[in-house]
Symmetry: C2
Subunit: 412 residues, 2 copies
């Protein structure tokens, strides 16, 4: 008789019929004797509808009021799901973020969970009820409604699981788990039964959009076993947990890629202390996040400075850099938004040399030029021209022995 926290995303509860399906799934779990806390998102499309209403009123709507508005999306879902459960004879009780005391800081639109008072949940569980909690939302010390930012329902689920010391946190989504890479790009992509928190973090932050990154960090911090499953088909999904001896030590667990970046280079920067700060300071002041940064060794007292930003910030960053270039007496600014970042990820590479070399050789054999390189303990990322994405990822997938025996089918 386990205590399980389940989270169903917007697609899984996108219609009344789907809400009924989710209720039936929950009823089934409960019949197996489990105690259940269910976290839900807004019905798919609802958050966008509400954002559009707000934008219609104000280009920069009040952050506090935006959270009051958006939090209604999940509130609708908890009510409907609880009704559906009761209709099936399963006692259930809904809780908004405020009612279950998901205490956050006061950073509206991107609040962070401070703690959760488990008392009301425990009371409802003791009454043999399924507890249905609104994801994505909380309440600050002044009683204001806050939201955790997009995808925050995953974080709510993991935080609930941590607070309740649940046996497992299950994230139901529209894919049936984590794959060695995107099966739409590599048909031989293999389903992974397990993956470590660290690998999942690298995969997630590199563009594998299965789980919200903060929820994985949270799960790692509190050692919550996290499972990604499909809400539309049965299967074990992928368990995200700590590295242990039983875990098969593949060198590389997966290949992630990110098409959303653009590259900017300042050429001929005078090689002086503080130059990097003078280039990136104005970028950061403009609210632009920088991902990879590479600075080449200086030649003739000059250096080249390259970094990547999100596509959406490309034009803005380019404008800023032109000004910076003239202030710094640098030679020239260049940009390229036809690039892609490809990364190999795996805890196994910690203890194995030559992984990076294999990666570079594999790409070279396909005639793919590497424009930037960046590494961490468990990943190697390269930037290549975006036209080589499929070719490069497939070659790497084969080179690192990740190909499955046959094509896999992916959840709806």
């Amino acid at each position: 008789m386990a205590l399980i926290v389940q989270k169903y995303g917007g697609t899984s509860v996108g219609t009344v019929d789907r809400i009924r399906n989710v209720a039936a799934k929950i009823a089934n779990f409960r019949a197996q004797g489990h105690r259940l806390v269910v976290v839900v998102s807004a019905m798919s499309g609802e958050t966008n509808r509400l954002v559009a209403l707000a934008k219609d009123i104000s280009a920069m709507p009040s952050a506090r009021e935006l959270d009051v508005l958006l939090s209604t999306g999940e509130q609708v879902t908890i009510a409907l799901l609880s009704m559906a459960l009761e209709e099936m004879g399963v006692p259930a009780q809904s809780f908004t973020g405020g009612q279950v005391h998901i205490r956050t800081d006061s950073a509206f639109n991107k609040a962070r969970i401070v703690d959760i008072d488990r008392q009301r949940v425990d009371e409802a569980l003791a009454q043999n009820k399924v507890v249905v909690v609104a994801g994505f939302q909380g309440v600050d010390d002044h009683g204001n409604i806050t939201t955790l930012g997009r995808g925050g329902s995953d974080t709510t689920a993991v935080a609930m699981a941590a607070a309740l010391k649940a046996d497992e946190c299950q994230i139901y989504t529209d894919v049936d788990g984590v794959y060695t890479t995107d099966p739409r790009v590599v048909p031989q992509a293999r389903h992974l039964p397990r993956i470590t928190y660290e690998e999942m973090l690298e995969m997630a932050s590199l563009g594998a959009k299965v789980l919200q990154i903060r929820s994985v960090e949270f799960a790692s911090k509190y050692q919550v076993p996290l499972r990604v499953l499909s809400s539309f088909e049965d299967g074990p999904g992928t368990l995200i947990c700590s590295e242990d001896d039983e875990m098969e030590q593949a060198l590389i667990s997966g290949i992630a890629f990110n098409r959303d970046e653009a590259k900017l280079t300042v050429l001929g920067v005078p090689d002086q202390p503080g130059v990097a700060g003078r280039i990136l300071g104005p970028i950061s002041d403009a609210g632009i996040e920088v991902d990879m940064i590479v600075q080449n060794v200086a030649e003739n007292d000059c250096t080249d400075f390259t970094f990547t930003v999100h596509h959406n910030d490309y034009a803005k960053a380019l404008g800023i850099l032109r000004q910076v270039c003239s202030d710094l007496n640098a030679r020239e600014v260049k940009g390229d938004d036809k690039i892609v970042k490809v990364s190999i990820v795996g805890v196994g590479m910690r203890s194995h040399a030559g992984i990076a070399a294999t990666m570079f050789r594999t790409l070279a054999n396909e005639g793919i030029n590497i424009q930037m390189i960046s590494t961490s303990e468990i990943k190697v990322s390269v930037v290549i021209a975006s036209k080589y994405l499929e070719l490069g990822v497939r070659a790497l997938h084969t080179a690192f022995g990740l190909d499955g025996e046959k094509e896999v089918s992916v959840g709806a």
Copy 2:
């Protein structure tokens, strides 16, 4: 510098444009130096949309969860209106029923307000903010969300005004005030600048659907000056207040009518003590509300017993009465759903005889037969065939000197 509570209904905030208009009205009031607390309903259509979702899931949705669901409607409006105000440079802060501590009992779907903790409102007003409160909702002692039932936003506004000892509570609606009767029936209907609580209660309960009845009771109990105005055009509206010497003492303030009733009669009931209870007991047990009740004087140890119910309950009541009739050895059950109740209302009639006589003579002159009569201190109601509604109301309107000099225009 007055403290004013304003309430805007669903039609007044039915679109983003209308919300902007309301914000502009509020900004204008504030510029005149008033402190403002604004209560809003859900955008028109929203409550029906949410109810339809619930009904799609369950024919009898959980009452608690229905309130969780419905309360989102007003929450959306408070957020959007606050955004619109801030966009105009007017500092504003929204409050849900729970946040402003509108404490109610736990009767989900039809909760009653127990008290309001004005502290948070006072704090926001002290910061020079417009306070925007979600109507229709509250919170019980266990932290559950409750709703006050349809039209409850009027009650929220009056309760806020009572708690804050506001100078006036203004209800903005789609009509520009209270009329001597429905202008769609009598084009000469006159706009009333003032009316007493008692008269308004009789008018409202008799079918003049301007204000929710509970809100008028509440205003009367706490002596809150209540004003009904149009949100679409300027004008003084109608002030509902206590009777005072300045008030023009018209004999009759208005003529109300109600098309929603049906009449049931049990004929030949043995004239014994307890018979009325044995007839109405089963009706009441079935949750059917009874309006007028008339029992004729007994002849030959038999009496006839007549009462009216809402149209919607007519068939059900008829079925129950047939059973009761046989149990009581009564002769026959008759029903008629082609009736209308017409009432003349006015505090002036307290001190004047002959009002009822004038009413009956006027109807008789038009050849209209009176089927039932019922009176209270400030009203006389009759039931007539529904085909005579317009004829009867117009004749009474003229007979009691209520006709205006020319046709009035009614708000959009």
